[in-house]
Symmetry: C2
Subunit: 404 residues, 2 copies
């Protein structure tokens, strides 16, 4: 893996032109698209239209000129990236709120099934929200077990299996087909959190027979900070499940202003309050970018970039906690290091933005839409230099910030 080799790969990269669709700051190699995707160049103009024309000029009339349908329209655009039908996805609220909606709904399906099965070390909000959801249903509980014991934990008492498809720390990927089948064999639906998967790897919710899913809009989907999240319900379940956050926007006839709640048919019932139009506008524009992208090329390049950085990690004798098999991981690579926090801070100071995950993970996102092979080589070089400099002895790099 030489510099010539990287140049040749970048010159032949069919995705090279896509980089130009993003704004990336000069002198920065951004290995954090798995935490906050960068700004697509089309977003500022789209938001300016949403603000100056739709809000400023059209005012309340814009509700009938595209706003009211935005959650479904943006959901339909996202559906293709996760193997769902356009009428199985809706966008709104946060991933956490959407998890709550679906977990409570799943717990209420069958009074004889009282347990949410999940994985210890799952992304914290999944477990925290599952605790909260269990409190909303008599007798319900969360049963989180080590990763290797998840399948064995499924039983006739399982109300729903809650898994994050790609682990936020290690990038380990669950076998969606196998775990969905295991949940079904136990008579339970599965809820996939796709926050680190959507836009990062091939996903086929329908093909996997998956029941429910959620995911965030601000990582590989580049929807902006705190972008609205998505929620998927397989069509066969749509009329059986009910949103516990039964707000007016999910009502069958919200503008009849009736006292009694009546859920809308289809996905609209998963709406709660008034949709966050500015966030939806940014996310919709970011999703439009995928129309120009051959997804198979993205997944293939992700594997190439991974192998390149994994090889650097080997040379630097770093402990890689991410599986090497592309089918068993996502699109980020994580190394364990006792001074991971200081290493990341020093790396950021040197122009390579990655992130730290407590207590000892150095996490680097590989996003093929705008990263080249030479970028990854340069990041690897700087990582080596940073490690040689022992940044954990430098107080500039050890002081903890509020968000790490």
């Amino acid at each position: 893996m030489t510099a010539d080799d990287a140049r040749a790969l970048d010159a032949a990269d069919p995705l090279a032109a896509i980089r130009g669709l993003f704004t990336l700051p000069e002198g920065v190699i951004y290995l954090d698209g798995n935490s906050l995707g960068p700004l697509p160049r089309a977003v500022p103009a789209a938001l300016d239209d949403a603000v100056a024309r739709q809000w400023g000029e059209r005012l309340i009339r814009s509700w009938n000129e595209g706003w009211i349908d935005a959650p479904q329209r943006v959901g339909a655009k996202l559906a293709g990236l996760i193997g769902a039908r356009p009428d199985e996805v809706i966008v709104g609220d946060s991933t956490s709120a959407n998890l709550y909606k679906l977990l409570v709904a799943a717990l209420r399906l069958d009074p004889h099934r009282r347990t949410i099965v999940s994985e210890l070390g799952n992304f914290p909000t999944d477990l925290h929200i599952a605790e909260g959801a269990a409190q909303a249903v008599p007798g319900a509980r969360l049963h989180a077990v080590p990763r290797g014991e998840v399948e064995a934990a499924l039983s006739g008492d399982t109300a729903v299996l809650l898994l994050t498809h790609i682990h936020y720390k290690t990038a380990e990927r669950w076998d969606m087909d196998a775990l969905t089948a295991a949940a079904h064999a136990a008579g339970a639906p599965v809820l996939w959190d796709l926050s680190h998967s959507a836009g990062a790897v091939a996903i086929d919710l329908n093909g996997s027979d998956a029941d429910l899913a959620v995911g965030c809009g601000y990582k590989y989907l580049n929807g902006g900070p705190g972008a609205p999240a998505f929620l998927y319900v397989r069509q066969a379940h749509q009329e059986r499940l009910h949103n516990p956050l039964s707000g007016w926007m999910g009502h069958a006839e919200p503008f009849d202003f009736a006292d009694a709640y009546a859920p809308a048919p289809g996905m609209k019932r998963w709406l709660t309050g008034t949709p966050a139009i500015l966030g939806l506008a940014a996310l919709e524009t970011s999703l439009d970018l995928w129309a120009n992208v051959d997804r198979a090329q993205v997944w293939a390049k992700s594997a190439q970039l991974f192998d390149r950085l994994a090889a650097v990690g080997d040379v630097l004798k770093l402990t890689c906690v991410t599986p090497r098999d592309p089918a068993r991981r996502g699109s980020h690579i994580s190394f364990r290091h006792p001074h991971a926090y200081a290493v990341i801070q020093a790396l950021i100071a040197h122009g390579v933005i990655g992130d730290f995950r407590a207590p000892d993970i150095l996490r680097l996102g590989l996003t093929p839409l705008y990263l080249g092979h030479a970028d990854v080589d340069r990041a690897g070089e700087l990582l080596g230099e940073v490690l040689d400099s022992e940044p954990w002895r430098d107080p500039r790099y050890t002081q903890r910030q509020a968000v790490t």
Copy 2:
């Protein structure tokens, strides 16, 4: 009330300069700021900074440069408008989601109190969400009664009294002091929905001894379509109440990534998912505008504009359903008319934007920050002309749109 009189009042209006802080389309008299406030002129530049610099240039680093504290910072800016302390308000999610959080929390305070008392004809989402919240707590129920029977419905079984301070249809205002005291006399906390109050009338939550409140950011606060909502918890209750939507952003140490949920102290526990930064940026900028405004002048001018339009309604023999007493109403005026829908559609076509509320309410918002006395006179004239033209016989004005 003559044209001269209107000109004199506008010339002497101490708020006249504030109008210049808003973008208002040419040829439109906007009587719908009670549904979607217009665009403050400072918002496009603030959003451009949030998008191009904070997201585009600073990327993930912005979380430590103002984003992570935005829900509390914006809440503190809002607190003064509702008579709360800066550390009693937080901004995020929708009004509906915030209602759910506080209602479930209130229902869990005392297992011997099982009833949410509210008003029939309350804004639908309040009742819909109350139904949903009751399902999350064993034995709980919603008891909604006619407006005149609310006080009598309070009892030892009341877990929380849920009222909308100013009615979305009629603009009737509850006496916050009296109803709060009545709830307390029954041993229950009160939850005020301030969606049609914040920025419209003087509110003193602390002075009224009010326990809980929510409200939206997109009406009189001009935060933009689907702006994040606010949530208030009186300081004395903050450690006793728990967020059922127990997401990672409300955790005491979110970046420790612990499996078990532990609520943050103070208002931070009411956060759920990742904050919607773009919506927060717009709302924060809109709230900054109030720093230049003498609120007493706003409330006084609201009363003047109301009297002016009420007098027109009298001349036109319209049935006004809004109380005349300024202390008993908000900042909109509603007329009942059998063809209210067609009248509003025709009025909009003539450049006066108001709105219809099913089945027969013609609702006109009076927002002193950017409306003058001459505007109100002109709107009254056009209303007269529209009524004379019998728009309910014109198919252009009778066809229902998705959002009314």
